[in-house]
């Protein structure tokens, strides 16, 4: 499997009045042409990890790593301008809620075409055709109408498909999906996931799927990293997730209700302070 | 628990009585306020202003009303007249010191009238709802539609010039924003469960408004009043400057600027000193208001 992305010893720090807060603490992993899940509760650093790869952590936040290699080149050594050529074109990201991640006062068409024209020198009509084609690819039928519409006129599921279209239109190698279905109705979650999955597979992309939903990740991904308090505590194949060894993962699994093994009382997760002290497990292949 | 200090008692996580909890909350607010240097400077200036106003007869080197035409328009730093003298030979420093009393008097009166009117109108409007709400809010909107200074001018014109009428005119133009705030607060409080619980226990509208709604509106009103104080001082000074506020020979700062205006090019200090006094005090109120907002109403901050 060829490595698209390789990260070693990633730290994300935020200086606060009470001292430096480490949101991500020495995380290492790599990504091939696969679907890599990152699971953890809120505050575990999973979203920060995704954003740190794109160097989207704003000052005063600090990103440090031995390297974040994309195709053998360290992203941390790039200038801001070089980094802009990476964003969108090589690594893209879909965020949680299309209600907030789409600009409310710009038409959907303009937003999608903008994503394409930032990296491709094409005419407006060329970009328009490409955008319509992309909207069709995410199963939006009346693309011409949607192009003229504003985000508030779209449903959540539509919005997230538009987001996916917008983020995939420059044809990136890696897509980071940060809780892409958490804000959606359960009924459309699967549909959005399937569309995303099909596109990622078809284009041979690498996908980093960030979620708090263990079952979803076990279902949808190839490999899973489990994060706790800014560290990776366990790495396993997605289909082996239910055999996970780490007490934290076990605790999480046991606190979920299961149809095949009903229990009168679910377990409550009991945290061991030692978990956050043990060094990170490497997720590099 | 015998060795518990007062500080520990105030900072406890487990208050033993209602008053304990209240004092503890106050103390924590004070601690966070105290860490705001700018707000403390504002508070310091205002405390000094009050002290100066109280001790005016002791502090002022001369009688602010005694004219001495032989010593008119003396420059800054003259022996015995640190800030010089005005066109009638009166000591500017003494007049500024006595002027602090007038400024405080105006501010205190407006701060007593406008928010109380606003609170009454706003809570009644918000609690009663229906056509009472519509009528009261329409009246509020009409007053808001007026340019404030122009309306105050027209009021003073109708009532006659003078410091009390200036206060009345400023209050009449200042209450609508308070009514808006109080109404908005009332609307959110009114629909909360605990008000429903009190009503089920048989409390009447009057009791609910005075005992349960007013106390909760107070903190946002205090912030707003403090932030508005600077505007009130400037409005009062503006009226004084136009000759519609305090009448001569009263040492009101705005009127002093107006008096010094005639000599601005040759004797600049006559108009400059009272202007600096107005600026300092309204700056102090702005600093204090910002600080209070951060403590009492953190949501409204930037």
């Amino acid at each position: 499997m060829d490595k698209l992305l390789d990260i070693e010893n990633l730290w994300v720090r935020f200086p606060t009045r009470q001292g430096v807060f480490d949101a991500v603490r020495g995380v290492s992993f790599s990504l091939g042409r696969e679907r890599l899940g990152i699971v953890g509760e809120s505050g575990s650093g999973k979203s920060m990890t995704g954003r740190a790869i794109l160097r989207l952590i704003r000052p005063p936040g600090i990103v440090e790593a031995d390297h974040i290699n994309l195709g053998g080149v360290d992203l941390l050594k790039k200038t801001d301008k070089q980094m802009r050529a990476v964003r969108g074109q090589r690594i893209s990201m879909v965020m949680q809620d299309p209600k907030f991640s789409l600009n409310p006062v710009t038409t959907i068409g303009d937003q999608i075409m903008e994503a394409y024209r930032l990296h491709n020198k094409v005419s407006k009509s060329g970009a328009y055709a490409k955008a319509v084609e992309m909207l069709n690819a995410v199963s939006i039928r009346d693309a011409d109408r949607v192009m003229r519409a504003y985000p508030h006129e779209m449903s959540g599921g539509m919005g997230q498909r538009i987001m996916i279209a917008m983020m995939l239109i420059p044809n990136p190698e890696i897509l980071i999906a940060d809780e892409p279905t958490s804000a959606l109705d359960v009924s459309v979650q699967r549909q959005v996931l399937d569309i995303m999955d099909a596109l990622v597979k078809e284009r041979g992309m690498g996908l980093i799927f960030i979620s708090h939903d263990l079952n979803l990740v076990a279902d949808f991904c190839d490999r899973v990293l489990i994060m706790y308090a800014g560290r990776i505590v366990e790495v396993c194949a997605a289909d082996k997730l239910h055999e996970a060894q780490h007490p934290y993962t076990r605790g999480l699994l046991n606190s979920l209700p299961r149809l095949d093994a009903p229990r009168a009382r679910l377990e409550v997760l009991r945290r061991d302070p030692a978990w956050s002290e043990t060094p990170s497990v490497s997720g590099r292949v | 628990m015998a060795e518990q200090t007062l500080r520990e008692w105030l900072l406890t996580d487990t208050p033993t009585s209602r008053r304990h909890a209240k004092l503890s909350a106050l103390y924590q607010g004070w601690l966070s306020f105290r860490s705001n240097t700018m707000a403390m400077i504002g508070l310091g200036i205002l405390v000094a202003l009050v002290l100066i106003a109280v001790a005016a007869p002791i502090l002022s080197p001369h009688d602010p009303f005694v004219q001495d035409l032989g010593n008119r328009l003396l420059p800054l730093g003259t022996e015995g007249h640190v800030f010089g003298t005005d066109s009638l030979g009166r000591d500017i420093l003494s007049r500024l010191i006595y002027g602090a009393r007038i400024t405080l008097y105006i501010v205190a009166l407006v701060a007593l009238i406008a928010p109380v009117v606003g609170l009454l109108v706003g809570t009644v409007s918000g609690y009663a709802g229906g056509w009472i709400d519509v009528v009261l809010m329409r009246i509020t909107d009409i007053f808001l539609a007026f340019p404030r200074l122009v309306l105050a001018l027209a009021f003073v014109a109708a009532l006659g010039a003078g410091i009390e009428n200036a206060v009345l005119a400023i209050s009449l133009t200042a209450w609508p924003p308070y009514a808006r705030i109080a109404r908005a607060e009332t609307l959110t409080i009114r629909s909360s469960d605990y008000i429903a619980a009190i009503r089920l226990q048989g409390a009447g509208a009057l009791r609910i408004i005075t005992r349960h709604i007013w106390p909760l509106c107070i903190s946002s009103l205090i912030v707003r009043v403090t932030l508005d104080m600077a505007g009130i001082i400037l409005a009062a000074a503006g009226l004084g400057f136009l000759g519609l506020g305090a009448q001569p020979p009263s040492p009101e700062w705005g009127a002093m600027i107006s008096e010094g205006r005639r000599f601005i090019l040759d004797h600049w200090w006559v108009a400059t000193m009272p202007g600096l006094a107005i600026f300092t005090v309204s700056l102090a109120f702005n600093l204090l208001g910002d600080g209070l907002r951060d403590v009492l109403d953190p949501k409204a901050g930037e």
């Binding site: 954003r51 989207l56 964003r87 969108g88 893209s92 965020m95 949680q96 907030f100 991640s101 600009n103 409310p104 006062v105 710009t106 903008e114 994503a115 930032l118 504003y150 508030h152 987001m163 917008m166 420059p170 | 329409r138 909107d141 009409i142 808001l144 539609a145 007026f146 340019p147 200074l149 122009v150 309306l151 001018l153 027209a154 009021f155 014109a157 109708a158 009532l159 006659g160 600077a230 505007g231 400037l234 000074a237 503006g238 400057f241 136009l242 000759g243 519609l244 705005g254 600027i257 601005i264 090019l265 600049w268 108009a271 009272p274 202007g275 107005i278 600026f279 309204s282 702005n286 930037e302």
Partner: protein
């Protein structure tokens, strides 16, 4: 804003836009009526006898009574109010006691001076205040943010008339950089024909550069002064609007797309604050019309502020009330205007 929170229940058969329009017109009408009612009441409370003011102290009782009846003062208050309304609707604010001319004529004559001053002031305020606010938000906590904060704080705390005096003292008295009080120097009075009433525009229309330069040197100081006060407000509001937008998720989306920070700020975040900014600008323009009252006195600027104040000091009540009504109406019109622009710029409000 007063004109947006219509909550009335219209008839179900009417299309929504007609309903909104009717409600808006209704609420404007009520506000205007209220405004006129207040000025009417102020006029009645006046300690000045309107009859005596017209006939003079030495008129006979019969003359007095005739004028008393002519003014309708024997009628009930509500009828008098209706008379007043009728007159105002015909732009008749009565006659000025000072110069015996119709107040409406006077206002038409002095208003362009205020308009010119306030407009130049708001232009200065927008051109400096908006970029300052945006930069202060983007570089939050930097030295430029601190400067913006101090500028605003000082602006909120400074008496405008005093700053005007200091400006005159320094830039006119000591440095001699600008023209003194008045709209033009004494040699340029009435040199160019008055077409618009705005001297800068009239001078340009006439092609008279000397007058333009002189008028500009007179207007720049009071306009900058007004501009500074609107800058204080506009920059603060712009900053807090921008901070809110910059923390929004769509800004991250724009960055993920690979946009430059400049484009992220101006093409995405700034586009979202346009609507709020319009309201703020309309509000500060209205405040400038008001702030010009004191500024006009300092700079002997023959605008509506000077007019009202002069009338006030000579107890010319018709002129005071006429001026107050006009300024009040402009306030309301500005509100309507910003409300309309709101609907143009915000797709969610359409």
């Amino acid at each position: 804003m007063a004109l947006t929170d219509n909550k009335g229940e219209g008839r179900a058969s009417l299309p929504p836009w007609i309903k909104t329009t009717l409600l808006t017109i209704g609420s404007i009408a009520v506000t205007m009526l209220g405004l006129l009612f207040i000025t009417f009441i102020i006029g009645r409370v006046m300690p000045i006898d309107p009859v005596l003011a017209i006939v003079g102290e030495r008129a006979s009782q019969s003359t007095y009574d005739a004028v008393f009846l002519e003014l309708g003062l024997d009628k009930p208050l509500i009828v008098q109010f209706l008379y007043y309304l009728w007159d105002v609707l015909h732009l008749d604010f009565g006659t000025s006691l000072l110069n015996a001319r119709p107040v409406s004529e006077d206002i038409a004559r002095v208003f362009p001076a205020t308009l010119e001053l306030a407009t130049l002031g708001i232009i200065i305020g927008i051109l400096l205040g908006v970029p300052l606010g945006v930069v202060a938000a983007v570089r939050k906590g930097s030295w430029i943010d601190q400067i913006a904060r101090v500028l605003a704080l000082v602006g909120y705390s400074m008496p405008i008339f005093w700053l005007g005096l200091m400006g005159l003292l320094i830039f006119y008295g000591i440095l001699g950089w600008v023209g003194g009080p008045g709209r033009v120097g004494i040699f340029y009075v009435d040199v160019v024909p008055s077409v618009t009433g705005l001297i800068l525009v009239d001078a340009l229309l006439d092609g008279n550069w000397d007058v333009f330069k002189d008028a500009f040197s007179h207007i720049i100081l009071p306009a900058s002064l007004l501009g500074y006060f609107s800058l204080a407000y506009i920059s603060r509001m712009t900053r807090s609007f921008m901070l809110e937008q910059l923390s929004a998720e769509y800004v991250t989306t724009a960055r993920v797309k690979g946009m430059s920070e400049w484009d992220v700020v101006w093409k995405h975040a700034f586009k979202n604050i346009r609507v709020q900014l319009i309201t703020v600008i309309a509000l500060s323009y209205a405040n400038l019309l008001e702030g010009s009252v004191l500024t006009e006195i300092i700079f002997s600027w023959p605008g509506i502020g000077s007019y009202i104040t002069t009338a006030l000091l000579s107890a010319d009540m018709n002129a005071v009330l006429g001026g107050t009504v006009v300024v009040g109406l402009i306030f309301i019109l500005l509100n309507i205007f910003s409300d309309l622009l709101y609907r143009v710029f915000d797709p969610r409000a359409r």
